[in-house]
């Protein structure tokens, strides 16, 4: 039941106007050939937990709790934005009564903020994954994980990239 709900929420998200606005603006900017970096730097935000929590609330409609059970490991600085290593791991016993449903990664300063969502299964998989992502500019990358009881945990990490990986 809850599982179905979380999938539905993701489906709805694609069309949520609240999140679409920023993305559309940035998309139009880059489509028009304007360096999106310039546009975004005007709106350079002060990164704090409140802002991250606010974004997650817009995406999921729910409140996330900053947690040190969620580990998002990325290089602090990286020479290019095309293939930035990402490792995310959640401390969880992964039993039927206590497990992680998914972890979702977003890059709020990318023209399209969604990066990836990884789904895990109790007893069968570990909530630990590595991949490589694109970043348009230096930013706080966010990860948030939903546990089986519906709790949302969040964390973020600052990554400085020298080149735009989304151009």
């Amino acid at each position: 039941m809850l599982n179905v709900q979380s999938y539905q929420e993701e489906g709805v998200l694609q069309e949520t106007p609240a999140t679409g606005l920023t993305r559309r603006e940035l998309f139009l900017a880059s489509a028009a050939g304007v360096a999106s970096v310039t546009i975004v730097s005007l709106a350079k935000a002060h990164d704090d937990v409140d802002e991250a929590a606010e974004l997650i609330k817009r995406l999921t409609g729910r409140i996330a709790i900053a947690s040190d059970r969620l580990h998002l490991v990325m290089p602090r600085t990286f020479p290019n934005g095309y293939t930035v290593p990402l490792n995310v791991e959640i401390d969880s016993p992964m039993t039927e009564s206590d497990y992680v449903r998914y972890v979702r990664v977003v890059a709020p300063r990318n023209p399209l903020i969604e990066v990836a969502t990884f789904h895990f299964f109790p007893q069968l998989s570990q909530p630990r994954v590595s991949t490589r992502i694109r970043l348009a500019e230096p930013q706080d990358v966010l990860a948030f994980a939903e546990l089986n009881d519906g709790t949302l945990l969040m964390t973020k990490t600052w990554v400085d990239v020298a080149t735009n990986g989304c151009a």
Binding site: F27, Y82, N110, A116, F118, H119, L124, V129, R132, C166
Partner: protein
């Protein structure tokens, strides 16, 4: 453009209960739909938007991928060995393309 060749790295055997690592890689442009060609036309989006790993028919790891995943998407994840059987890896591309690989895992009791 490269042909999309999927590759996996996974142990051939494991002991029951053991956590093992899986590495999955596919050659793919992951065209974001944000770029334009020389004529100024938008190059349509074509990405691998989903990756699924099944173990004896059951989903054990699923990834929804978006434009911000790097070209030649690489995934490293961890599964628990339960019983001998078939591991199946499926990459879903925009437009309905599917790439898949299968692997036989031997699990010692």
């Amino acid at each position: 453009m490269l042909s999309s060749m999927p590759r996996i790295q996974v142990p051939s055997s494991a002991t029951k209960g053991e956590i093992f690592q899986v590495k999955a890689l596919i050659s793919h442009q992951m065209e974001t739909g944000l770029r334009r060609d020389n004529e100024g036309d938008v190059i349509p989006r074509k990405i691998i938007h989903k990756f699924v790993c099944r173990y004896n028919g059951a989903d054990v790891f699923v990834a929804d991928l978006h434009e911000a995943v790097a070209a030649n998407p690489y995934l490293e994840f961890y599964l628990r060995a339960t019983e001998s059987g078939r591991l199946e890896f499926v990459w879903h591309e925009d437009g309905g393309g599917v790439y898949s690989l299968a692997h036989q895992l031997l699990v010692a009791q």
